[in-house]
């Protein structure tokens, strides 16, 4: 007996949702096994992780807060991947954004808040785009694979932050390696009273809307998609492929950097080495699960916000590792992406006998 995957002529409408549901179930099963191993009860844990954040106002708003950076990195990765530019450096670009934002935050005393906030966000965006510039130039000028260069710059960004925090930006009161608190005039507004949900979320949603509008509705977006789908055809058609890639890479880095500024100015208010909880890499998962659609990325980011908050409350209540939240996200990526491919195929079992006739 041998299994072969044969492309289906047509896919019934229910196969996609069914297989995605199966992927989600498989993910929950794998996390349940890990929870059991950690000595927790799987059913309450699964309820804590996926449902309880939605049942209280606090859980819900904390989920929105956790989703905020993922909205930015999800959009950043999606727009780059749509152009066929494999930016896997959103992590480093977001971190660069936190550096720029912190620098403004530490030096912008006594400004009107609107000016301070504008400056801190611009700085984050600029630093993120700058961090994306080198790989983008290497790709478009010299043809050097951006996957490797964007990946290599991620640890570098974190090293620079560690260096800054152990050196010039060491906390002046505690002496710990985290920066001083940024100026009040650069802190983002809270948009949901008595919670921690801040202006960054609204900004992220605006970015999602802009990306959707530009990529889907504008002629520049059409170019971007053409470059992503068929770069050679686009080049022959006279589209400026290299310029499109360069611009997209910078926009992608800028969005990721803005996400970093939103974390600094919106919730952390100081730079720490743990400022990014893998937000950039998770952005790749978010964008992929959303099939590179921007509205989808927003929804997946919100779902991941729930899982993040849920895994922390499950961790507190049941003494299981909170790392399980990231595990769920990674397993979900592999199972769902596989399910999306499988739905296009049917499996044909062939025996030795029937193989002779094929």
């Amino acid at each position: 007996m041998k299994a072969r995957f044969v492309l289906r002529a047509s896919t019934p409408w229910w196969r996609g949702p069914l297989l995605i549901a199966a992927a989600a179930l498989l993910t929950i099963l794998i996390s349940a096994i890990m929870i059991r191993w950690a000595g927790g009860a799987p059913i309450p844990a699964v309820r804590y992780m996926f449902i309880s954040p939605l049942q209280s106002r606090f859980g819900f708003t904390e989920s929105l807060l956790s989703a905020t950076p993922l909205v930015f990195t999800g959009a950043a990765v999606a727009i780059a991947f749509r152009a066929g530019y494999w930016n896997i450096g959103a992590e480093g670009q977001l971190l660069a954004g936190t550096i720029g934002a912190t620098w403004v935050g530490l030096h912008a005393e006594s400004l009107p808040r609107i000016v301070g906030v504008t400056l801190i966000l611009l700085a984050g965006m600029l630093f993120g785009a700058l961090w994306a510039l080198t790989p983008a130039l290497l790709r478009t000028r010299l043809g050097i694979d951006e996957v490797v260069t964007t990946l290599l710059l991620n640890p570098v960004a974190l090293l620079i932050i560690t260096g800054l925090l152990n050196g010039p930006w060491r906390n002046s009161e505690s002496g710990f390696p985290d920066s001083d608190v940024i100026a009040d005039s650069t802190k983002l507004w809270i948009i949901w009273p008595n919670t921690r949900v801040h202006f960054g979320l609204a900004l992220g949603i605006v970015i999602i809307g802009l990306c959707w509008w530009f990529v889907g509705k504008m002629s520049g977006g059409l170019k971007l998609r053409a470059v992503g789908l068929a770069p050679n055809a686009a080049r022959i058609a006279g589209l400026p492929v290299e310029r499109t890639l360069l611009t997209t890479a910078l926009v992608s880095g800028g969005i990721a950097g803005l996400g970093g500024a939103s974390e600094i100015a919106g919730v952390a208010h100081q730079l720490t080495t743990g400022i990014s909880n893998n937000f950039g890499y998770t952005g790749v998962i978010v964008a992929t699960l959303a099939a590179l659609s921007f509205i989808g990325a927003l929804l997946v980011a919100l779902m991941f916000g729930v899982i993040t908050v849920g895994s922390f409350s499950a961790s507190r209540a049941l003494e299981i590792p909170s790392q399980i939240g990231q595990l769920v996200q990674a397993v979900l990526l592999i199972t769902v992406v596989s399910a999306l491919v499988i739905q296009k195929y049917r499996i044909v079992w062939t025996t030795k006998k029937s193989e002779g006739r094929k």
Binding site: F5, W86, V148, L153, V156, T288, P321, I334, S338
Partner: protein, 300 residues
């Protein structure tokens, strides 16, 4: 001065060992037309599985074997998603890396750090044949004296190597010639993953003797860059590994100099990564990617 030079060469060889192993693994994989971005995660996984098993059984050998098994398993899953299903290789590889990292961090928490502890073993000791340069771990000798010639022979002299290169360049033609494309790619991916697993196991079982979060710290990405820098040849790949390791060992020595006392050591730590990017910028132009790089193969 002689001492410093010897010290730099000696520690370069140590630093180069996991990089060379992982890059050899990535080379075998990419020669079959598949990019494995899971390299960072497979190293992470085997680093953890190796030391966890060694700590539980008290045997470093058992740890090494378990690390190899974990690498093969990860390779098998990656091969299923990319070869059988034809999932986008960037996504599948990065997914594998994120999966292994989160899985090991969770397991590390459950097994070792829940009560504030840390897993530790007595690591392998260097074998001393005289002088700092010839005082190296067994795996370091094995890497440069056995693994390097073996991969050279495997890829360019053996029948399997011919098949691997054939499916990596032109899977349609290979298929017509009767070479099983899927089977060959599975084999290449799993052999590659075993080398990556050796690299990860070396770090915990020989180099440091403990496991901390983020222990691989981008070494897998450096290995990826070395393959491109090496233009898919072993000689140039080793030159790249040597250059990276020399920069790395050099910055370790620089830190000891009084005039560098004010430079934050993290900046020096970032130097090797920047050196790789500069190296790619100089020698990464018009590189000969395998013909079927990133392309899944489906018989129509």
């Amino acid at each position: 001065m002689i001492d410093v030079t010897e010290e730099i060469i000696s520690s370069s060889l140590r630093i180069a060992t996991p990089l060379a192993l992982a890059a050899l693994g990535e080379l075998v994989t990419e020669k079959s037309g598949v990019l494995n971005l899971g390299v960072e995660g497979i190293m992470y996984g085997s680093a953890f599985v190796g030391i966890a098993t060694a700590a539980q059984t008290g045997s470093l050998t058992a740890g090494l074997i378990a690390a190899l098994v974990s690498g093969a398993l990860a390779g098998l899953i990656f091969a299923f998603t990319t070869v059988t299903l034809g999932v986008n290789q960037h996504v599948a590889g990065l997914g594998m890396t994120l999966l292994m990292i989160s899985l090991c961090n969770t397991a590390n928490r459950i097994m070792f750090t829940a009560d504030g502890g840390q897993v530790r073993v007595d690591p392998w000791q260097p074998l001393n044949f005289g002088g700092p340069i010839f005082s190296q771990y067994l795996l370091t000798y094995a890497t440069f004296l056995v693994a390097v010639p073996f991969v050279w022979w495997l890829l360019w002299k053996s029948g399997l190597g011919l098949k691997i290169r054939a499916v990596g360049e032109n899977p349609e033609a290979a298929d017509v010639a009767g070479i099983g494309v899927a089977k060959t790619r599975y084999t290449a991916i799993i052999i590659g993953s075993l080398f990556m697993a050796l690299a990860g196991a070396f770090i915990t079982l020989a180099f440091v003797g403990t496991f901390t979060v983020n222990i691989i710290n981008g070494r897998g990405w450096v290995a990826l860059a070395l393959v491109i820098f090496g233009r898919w040849t072993i000689g140039r790949l080793l030159i790249g590994a040597a250059l990276f390791s020399l920069v790395n060992a050099g910055q370790l020595q620089l830190r000891l100099l009084p005039s560098f006392a004010d430079v934050p050591f993290e900046i020096l730590l970032a130097l090797p990564f920047l050196a790789v990017i500069v190296g790619l910028a100089i020698s990464g132009r018009n590189v000969p990617y395998p013909g079927a790089y990133l392309k899944p193969y489906k018989r129509l």
